[in-house]
Symmetry: C2
Subunit: 203 residues, 2 copies
DNA sequence: TTCGTTATCGACAAGACTGTTCATAACGAT
DNA sequence: ATCGTTATGAACAGTCTTGTCGATAACGAA
């Protein structure tokens, strides 16, 4: 007996990779809103338009899905940071660099995802995010700039903290920018912070 | 028929307030580790040593428990901040103020709880935390200091951002200090940050 | 077209979690 | 000591969630 169905839509069959990406996309929106612990197979499947056993078929288990999602999210966050830095080679444009970074972190709410993951204990925390290598690069530029003038080069720790500070601030800011801090204040704050850090690096 | 029991421990009956506090304490440890969405009645009850209907009796529902917990947590965080500031009246000791605040936020992992709540959409975000009033107080001190000297008083926004910056940084730092940043670096970073902010406020 | 692979789904299973009900017993008040 | 209030727990119900299994059909390859 043929089951009476609405219009009997034909079953769509994506390639394994396509299906995985679509599923990860749906899971990512859940990650942003309810965190890794709140991801539900049924909800993910519903959004994608498949049944939940299909999700299990592609990722083995719920934990498998979450791990794949974590890996992809961290990769994208890191890649975004890398792009932002690569687009701003000089040390002069710290303001625009901060805006670039902020923009990247805002894309797909990456800062939110990162904090969710950090809180939930997934991922390697800041260690995974290559902020220390970035600090080393900045330090090198700083050294060359000091070459000519008579100013002494501060210890590496000073540069490292100077890079760490905006990173930490931007992270919190991205979460609180939705609630309690207006976007307008956010823009002004980042500009103010950029000037502060720039002045410190130069002095 | 009397059910065969181990030793038939006598039922303990706490006062309603005592029971509520004990239950909230247990729920708070879960909040720190798995976030508000991860709180489980059975787990809370198990830790307290009661049955889970008892928890429901005192809070009506799971959501009632979470709301009560959120309220108590935010109150404590705010009170902790207030204490830290009250214990450091001058603007001179910004370094020790930062350490005080950091200490308060570390007590009971309050920064963690706050970020969990902010991410999950509970609580009024930063608006609830009276950081703007604190900025106003700092600004007043700044004005009086500038009175005698010939220096111009910067706009309030500058003071407000100067207070906001350590707040944001400390928030992120408290989460990442467990993973990726050693506690030693945390202490040095806070000292460095205090000096930076102090120099900025004076200049 | 034919065939093999496998993405997909329906149905079911097992457990977890919240919430309800009713009986019981602990504690304070008189 | 007696009594009323109510904190407490055992048992049960209903829903949600992950995971399994077998059947089916879509797509690529031949």
């Amino acid at each position: 007996m043929s089951r009476s169905r609405a219009v009997a839509e034909p079953r769509r069959r994506r390639s394994a990779d396509e299906a995985r990406e679509a599923i990860l996309d749906a899971a990512e929106t859940q990650l942003r809103t309810v965190g890794p612990g709140g991801i539900r197979l049924q909800e993910v499947a519903r959004v994608v338009g498949v049944s939940h056993p299909t999700v299990l078929h592609h990722f083995g288990s719920r934990e498998g899905l979450v791990e794949a999602l974590v890996a992809r999210s961290l990769e994208r966050i890191q890649a975004g940071l890398f792009d932002a830095v690569a687009a701003q080679p000089g040390t002069e444009g710290i303001a625009s660099l901060l805006e670039q970074v902020s923009k990247q972190m805002k894309a797909d709410d990456r800062a939110r995802s990162f904090l969710w993951l950090a809180l939930a204990g997934y991922g390697p925390g800041l260690k995974g995010l290559a902020v220390k290598p970035l600090a080393e690069a900045v330090h090198e530029v700083r050294r060359q700039k000091r070459q000519g003038s008579g100013k002494r080069l501060p210890p590496f720790e000073d540069t490292w903290f100077s890079v760490l500070l905006p990173a930490l601030a931007l992270l919190s800011l991205s979460v609180l920018e939705d609630q309690g801090i207006s976007e307008f204040d956010g823009v002004r704050f980042r500009a103010w912070l950029a000037k502060l850090v720039h002045r410190h690096l130069e002095s």
